[in-house]
Amino acid sequence: MTDRREAWLFLVPGLALLVLGFVLPILRMLVLSVLGPDGLTLQQFARFFQDGYYPSILWRTVRMSLVITAITAAIGFPLAYITSRVGPRLRLWLIVMVILPLMTSVVVRTFGWMVLLGRSGPLATTLRDMGLVGRSFSLMHTEAAIVLGMVQVLLPFMVLSMLGVLSRLDPRLEEAARTMGCSFLQTIRRVVLPLAMPGVVAGSLLVFTLSASSFITPSLLGGARIEVLAGSIYKSVTQTLDWNFAAAQSVILFLGLALVLIPYLRLGARHG
């Protein structure tokens, strides 16, 4: 039947692109991580865990990603809920407010934070005028700067993940809860939040993955002293030119994320 052949014909370019242009590169990376001058070796991994430096980078990456994910979820949920429940005009504006930063390059947004947080930026100047901080005060090159910048970069992903689920919730469920005596906040906690859980979990996983693997915002806002894993990978590739070590670090990042993602994906598969 032509239908079958047609279906394959349409799939082949995409499959070829993904196998040759996506799977193969990742395999190559995996191979390089265990390849030494004389055959297979785990030396690069041993090097990572040898002294305290790289584990501390890994720990910082995990810790900051968790904080960023938690803050993003805490801001994202009310924002997504409000967006899903307001009238169409306001809803459109709220969506623009979320999509405009999302569709702007990360590089540009990080630049904005560099200006905001810098020594002559509005935040530092205001605090200085109020006499709260010294002359040389700057928020740049702190973990707080990275967290703030990353929350802004990743908030749209969280809001959109939640918005999809929240818009599909039947508002009559909330009305039913209210008529049966729940207060507004009780309704949110006992009806909306449990039903929105798939969106909350999906958004959180996405944000966690993205924040653990980004280096542009962390390296520009955190500077050289506050290194994260992805930044260290970039440095190994471009500065020390140690590709095998870069590959090993990528594998560690990859495995770490798989550890978080796979239980969820299996859970999702079971629930259909």
């Binding site: 239908d3 047609e6 279906a7 014909l9 349409f10 799939l11 370019p13 995409g14 692109l17 993904l18 242009g21 996506f22 193969l24 590169p25 990742i26 801001i75 009310p78 409000i82 969506i95 623009v96 979320v98 999509i99 405009l100 930063p101 569709m103 702007t104 390059s105 540009v108 947004r109 990080t110 630049f111 904005g112 200006v115 905001l116 810098g118 002559s120 930026g121 509005p122 929350v151 802004q152 908030l155 918005l163 909330e174 009305e175 507004f184 993205l210 693997s213 980004s214 542009i216 390296s219 992805a230 990978i233 970039y234 590739v237 471009t238 870069a246 990528s250 990042l253 990859f254 994320l257």
Partner: protein, 265 residues
């Protein structure tokens, strides 16, 4: 009224929305502000008003070359991702049990781009040596593909499969069915996917940073390099032009397809 929300909570919600808007939009506003400042130092609020940094940016060979490279790349990625992704979406929408394949096609969304970027760099170097425009084109197409696939699949899921069935019983060959029935059904999905593909490629920095070489700097890479070195008002002017392009894309997206619809898929 059971729908009523307490008044104090309404106020709180408004304050919250304003603060969220501030958080989301402040970095963009600040960049625009710096770009029109007269001072040659980065300062916000801006001192005076001047468009000289725009002249500077447009007169800079690096920025102009990077812009053309990014534009060419984004245009080609839009074309390739829309064609390949659209075809795959049409094929996937007819298969039963295409779930595993669909997951595979969407996997570039899940795998962090830094991992893909480093793999791409390593594979390309071992096969062909120095990275080239083609490497960037392939890499960007891979990451843009899932967006086209998702928007097109979403549209096809809502469309009526019997339309094509009807065309077939009336004797239309598959190229004709494709052209007159299936493609028109896909059009909104393909268009939204194309917008995203363009936007992703034009703004993408991770893959472009890993695959860059002295003759291959996209606009975001050029901006990143400047920010690492020393931010100046010229880079703010370039960034502002990128923001303006994004705003244009969003307005077009809304006019052509409706943002409300695009955001909920």
């Amino acid at each position: 009224m059971v729908k009523a929300v307490p008044t104090w909570l309404r106020w709180l919600a408004w304050i919250f929305v304003i603060l969220a808007a501030l958080l989301l939009l402040a970095p963009l506003v600040v960049v625009v502000g710096v770009s029109v400042s007269e001072s040659q130092f980065i300062a916000f609020p801006p001192n005076g008003f001047s468009l000289k940094w725009y002249g500077n940016a447009l007169g800079s060979r690096e920025y102009v070359e990077a812009f053309w490279l990014s534009l060419r790349l984004a245009a080609l990625v839009t074309l390739s991702a829309t064609l390949i992704g659209g075809a795959a979406a049409i094929a996937l929408s007819r298969r039963r049990g295409g779930q595993a394949l669909e997951t595979f096609f969407l996997s570039p969304l899940v795998i962090p781009s830094i991992i893909f970027a480093i793999g791409m760099l390593m594979l390309w170097s071992s096969l062909f040596g120095v990275t080239s425009f083609l490497a960037l084109w392939i890499a960007h197409t891979v990451v843009a593909l899932p967006y086209v696939l998702r928007t097109t699949l979403a549209v096809l899921a809502e469309s009526d499969p019997f339309l094509e069935e009807a065309a077939r019983t009336m004797g239309a060959s598959w190229p004709r069915r494709l052209w007159h029935v299936v493609l028109p059904q896909c059009r909104p999905g393909l268009a939204a996917g194309a917008f995203f593909a363009f936007n992703i490629s034009f703004d993408e920095a991770v893959l472009s940073l890993f695959l860059r070489n002295p003759g291959l700097n996209t606009l975001p890479v050029q901006i990143y390099g400047q920010l690492e070195f020393s931010p100046d008002p010229t880079v703010a002017a370039v960034s502002t032009m990128m923001i303006v392009l994004t705003v244009t894309l969003i307005v077009l997206l809304d006019r052509l397809l409706g943002l409300n619809r695009v955001a909920s898929t």
